[in-house]
Symmetry: C2
């Protein structure tokens, strides 16, 4: 698993012509970093006298951000796995009409699976942005810039996920699926962009 290997290994392999890790894994890593920063703000607020009124909310925030971080970290790997699945289908024989039909059917299945991962990453980026807002609102003001960075990463994660959804949607023949997936993705992008604006305004305001 990439996450257990040195960070340099991930960066080196990303830079290479190896098909994975790719943009989807990077989106998930970006989201993981955002969730981690929310946890950091929560941890820097926990047990502080000045923030005693919000301790239950901070504990809840930390629970949610750590759960989300774990899910995002899992998606780093999951994106490389569905990519591997897609590569297997590419290798299927296509000499006879029956083989071609079987390959096309399998390909459509694999593409939907490959689309689902960045779609999930996109949905979770919205959660990161929501948690970043709460961190900026109630967290230690000395760490508010970290809540700001968290929302910037959520935004990059959302937009990167959308690009990776788009790649797959372009090859999927199920128009209803494509329309529904892409419409939902656009809604997520709008919501994340609105949260990014709010959190950045609040961050700069609190930083003075």
């Amino acid at each position: 698993m990439y996450i257990e290997q040195p960070m340099r290994h991930f960066l080196d392999k990303l830079a290479s012509k190896s098909p994975e890790p790719g943009g989807g894994s990077v989106a998930a890593l970006t989201g993981s970093l955002g969730a981690a920063l929310v946890s950091m703000v929560a941890n820097l607020t926990l047990g502080k006298e000045k923030y005693k009124d919000v301790q239950p909310q901070i504990e809840q925030l930390l629970g949610e951000s750590e759960k989300l971080r774990q899910e995002m970290q899992d998606l780093i790997q999951k994106d490389t796995e569905v990519y591997g699945g897609l590569s297997e289908v590419y290798k299927m024989p296509k000499s006879t009409d029956a083989e071609k039909a079987a390959r096309t059917a399998k390909m459509q299945e694999a593409l939907k699976l490959a689309c689902q991962v960045p779609f999930e990453i996109g949905l979770k980026s919205l959660d990161v942005a929501k948690l970043a807002l709460r961190a900026a609102e109630i967290g230690n003001v000395g760490a508010v810039s970290d809540a700001g960075v968290a929302v910037l990463l959520a935004q990059a994660c959302a937009q990167s996920a959308a690009l990776n959804v788009k790649i797959n949607v372009n090859s999927i023949k199920d128009e209803a699926y494509n329309r529904e997936t892409w419409t939902r993705m656009q809604e997520v992008l709008k919501q994340v962009a609105a949260l990014e604006k709010s959190v950045m305004e609040l961050t700069y305001q609190k930083m003075g």
Copy 2:
């Protein structure tokens, strides 16, 4: 060095209340990922018959993106080091007026040093964005979404770096330095935002 340790270690420590790694290191990592994706697009274009006319430019792009990636990777660590330096100054004695004066002077030095690192990260994010544009323009069209993700990361890197410049500028008493640094940072943000817009338009256009 963080980059030689498992990625999980960086994420875990980031999520903790440990003062480092913080937003600056995350900005540098984000920029490193962006540079790595430019390299990936270049590597997927290198030696391809369809792109034989741009091989010299692609080789140059790869050279530049790999150099930039190395510099960004170094800044991940450098940001934690200047933070350490600042922590040392905080521990200096402040009982007598002479001690206070010495501490204040050292603090101002350390703050400028701590400001210089995210400032450099910000400047380099502009280079990542410029290389992402070239990758989107001349690189393998099958990897154009990766050039898109690269520019999104450059944008998140620039804005995160700016937040970390702002923290330091707020405590530095040299007004001329602050004005110059912050003005330059704002210019970088504008240029990166313009590049992000161009690359994203081009990416979606090329993806169809």
